[in-house]
């Protein structure tokens, strides 16, 4: 479709549509999106709660629970093979091994009844055919590479004995244990304090150099995405509304939604009297407005926006926006 031709594509998502069937009706949480992740690239996916970020991530791994959800159309091409055509056994070879995922809550991702070392070696020996002793050595090495000070001590502890930051480090170590090609990180630092968040982001940066993986980083925090990603996709109500190179998108944000989102952040340095607001709230997913889904909240709405859906258009070097008035909003001179 409208995506630019990009080399070295590791993951190519085309026309992904994930539908949920509920008692109140059916709706598309992800509404036919395209997304590319190149090798060794870190891609950010941002948007408000309920815009479909996490559903996109789960769809890529085909982890959408059926019922109520189902991927109704689209293709997910990973290293040249379409994951949609894979059997469950084939998927098991990919999940956790080639595509690893880390989740938001570090507590609920670890089993409280097993020691850290046991949980790590279980996963290591599942994906790599190595003996128990070797697996324990490998677990220690991994903990060392996520900068845990005393790995031999930590492997014998239970999850509740570790702090939130330590648990998230352990989860990152587990995710990287089989040298994945792609790491999907769903809000990995949201539950952490600012100083710990900074530690974890610095760690992820170092690990990317060491392990050379691509990353899909999902967050509603624009600042973290700016600091850790090279590409960004902005979602609103199941659609990608703006994407491109991180510098272009942040410097020249051109979709009225993303522009307003940027302006609504309290900033350091200049102390504003009033923050910019986006009026109203996200519509109910059951009855999305016609035309551009953002039009009821948009300050620049035209009659046309209420009927027609804008397509993604390239408005700058590697910078795509789905808005009829992007040329007026855009920050380019």
């Amino acid at each position: 479709m409208n995506n630019p031709i990009r080399n070295n594509v590791l993951l190519k998502v085309r026309g992904l549509r994930t539908r949920f069937y509920t008692y109140e009706g059916e709706f598309d949480a992800v509404n036919g999106i395209n997304l590319d992740i190149r090798k060794n690239e870190s891609v950010g996916l941002v948007g408000e709660t309920g815009c479909g970020k996490s559903v996109t991530a789960l769809s890529i791994l085909r982890l959408i629970q059926d019922p109520p959800g189902k991927i109704v159309s689209g293709s997910i091409v990973f290293e040249g093979e379409d994951l949609m055509t894979k059997s469950l056994d084939e998927l098991r070879e990919i999940r956790g091994k080639k595509i690893a995922m880390i989740f938001q809550k570090p507590m609920s991702s670890l089993n409280p009844t097993f020691k850290i070392g046991t949980q790590m070696t279980d996963i290591i020996s599942l994906h790599q055919k190595i003996g128990k002793k070797e697996a324990w050595v490998r677990a220690g090495d991994l903990l060392r590479s996520v900068k845990i000070a005393a790995p031999e001590n930590v492997v014998n502890r239970y999850p509740h004995e570790l702090s939130g930051g330590m648990r998230q480090r352990v989860i990152i170590a587990i995710a990287l244990s089989s040298n994945p090609d792609l790491l999907i990180a769903d809000e990995p630092t949201t539950a952490l304090d600012a100083t710990i968040q900074k530690q974890i982001l610095a760690l992820i940066g170092d690990l990317r150099k060491e392990f050379c993986f691509s990353m899909l980083y999902i967050s509603h925090n624009l600042r973290t995405v700016y600091n850790i990603c090279e590409h960004i996709y902005v979602m609103y109500a199941g659609n990608i509304v703006e994407f491109g190179n991180i510098e272009s998108v942040f410097e020249h944000s051109s979709h009225p939604y993303f522009k307003a989102l940027m302006n609504s952040l309290p900033r350091f340095g200049a102390k504003e009297d009033v923050l910019a607001e986006i009026p109203g709230t996200l519509h109910s997913p059951m009855d999305p407005p016609g035309g551009c889904r953002f039009h009821p909240r948009c300050a620049l709405v035209l009659e046309r926006c209420k009927i027609e859906t804008p397509n993604l258009c390239e408005i700058g070097q590697d910078h795509w926006v789905a808005c009829f008035r992007a040329m007026e909003v855009k920050g380019y001179e």
């Binding site: 408000e48 709660t49 900074k198 624009l222 973290t224 942040f250 102390k271």
Partner: protein, 321 residues
């Protein structure tokens, strides 16, 4: 401006019993000798990492939990020492908005019933005027009359938080304690709520204690900032003083942990090592010394006191004494 509330040497230790027959109890030091005051009409921002005792301070001021020692002087009287029956009247003047808007509303009560509750509890319920009073209140916080007959689950997070604020201001309080009121909301909803709070403050002449771990939000809302670490205030100053000259190494680390865009200025770049120590076994000397990169010998043994480095700018650090 005069002080609306003064907090002096406030302490709260929670004890964890290890068993009915056991004599050893472990103490968690939540708030350990905190002093600050809030002037009439200003916003004091209280910032720190989770577990530093921010929320406990809010709860102590509203007497939701009892303090161990210290004084809280509100309009000339120590509200910690007066009996419960008399505290009722003062309670109207000190209200709180909580972090999780959904958990702070009763799911079985309509929004109207929720907003009416403070009037009933304080026996100032007037059948004739209550409807117009409620309409006036929801108008202030930006809700519509159609929301009144709904239940909390039918509202969005932002709308629920507006109801929480509406309940808190219903009795025209003097001090509003806002405990992370926007941390569970999306950024654009956060902007709506923060703007509404600022507008309210100037219209109703409210004084705010704004508790948050998000420095950019604190910076937007506050006139003065108090930085907490493990139950103690380590630095307190006006926002401009703090931006110009932050002294405490922890304040610097906290401010440099704020992620920035390229066009935003950053003065320090410190990545803190390690985690917050266990509050059951706080380190000797300065509580921050195990993570501090500028520590001296004295920091390991002696606890520094709050020291006035400039007018109304206090720092708890040996480097400055």
């Amino acid at each position: 401006m005069s002080d609306l509330i003064q907090v002096r040497n406030l302490k709260k230790h929670f004890s964890l019993d290890s068993g009915f027959f056991s004599k050893n109890t472990t103490k968690v030091i939540a708030v350990d000798g905190v002093d600050f005051s809030i002037r009439q009409g200003e916003t004091l921002g209280l910032v720190g990492e989770s577990g530093c005792g921010k929320t406990t301070i809010g709860r102590l001021l509203t007497r939701v939990i009892a303090s161990d020692s210290g004084q809280v002087i509100f309009e000339g009287q120590n509200i910690l020492s007066i009996p419960d029956s008399k505290f009722r009247d003062i309670q109207k003047d000190i209200q709180m908005v909580f972090q999780d808007p959904q958990a702070s509303l009763n799911p079985r009560m309509t929004i109207k019933a929720s907003i009416m509750e403070p009037f009933i509890v304080h026996h100032i319920y007037d059948k004739d005027s209550i409807d117009s009073e409620i309409l006036h209140l929801i108008n202030i916080v930006g809700l519509n009359p159609e929301h009144l007959n709904r239940y909390p689950k039918e509202l969005s997070g932002g709308q629920q938080q507006r109801v929480g604020i509406c309940k808190a201001i219903a009795l025209k309080p003097k001090l509003l304690i806002l405990d992370e009121p926007t941390s569970s909301l999306d950024v654009c909803i956060q902007a709506q709520i923060l703007n509404a709070l600022k507008k309210l403050q100037s219209e109703m002449n409210l004084t705010y204690l704004f508790i948050s771990h998000d420095l950019s939000v604190i910076h937007y809302m506050s006139d003065r900032i108090a930085v907490m670490y493990l139950g103690q205030i380590v630095e307190i100053a006006s926002i401009q003083q703090l931006i110009d000259d932050m002294f405490h190494p922890y304040t610097r680390a906290l401010f440099s942990a704020v992620l920035t865009f390229r066009n935003e200025a950053r003065r320090f770049d410190v990545v803190l090592k390690g985690d917050v120590p266990n509050p059951m076994k706080p380190p000797d000397g300065c509580r921050f010394h195990p993570r501090c990169d500028q520590r001296l010998k004295i920091c390991e043994t002696e606890m520094p006191t709050l020291f006035e480095v400039a007018r109304d700018h206090f720092v708890r650090c040996h480097l400055l004494a």
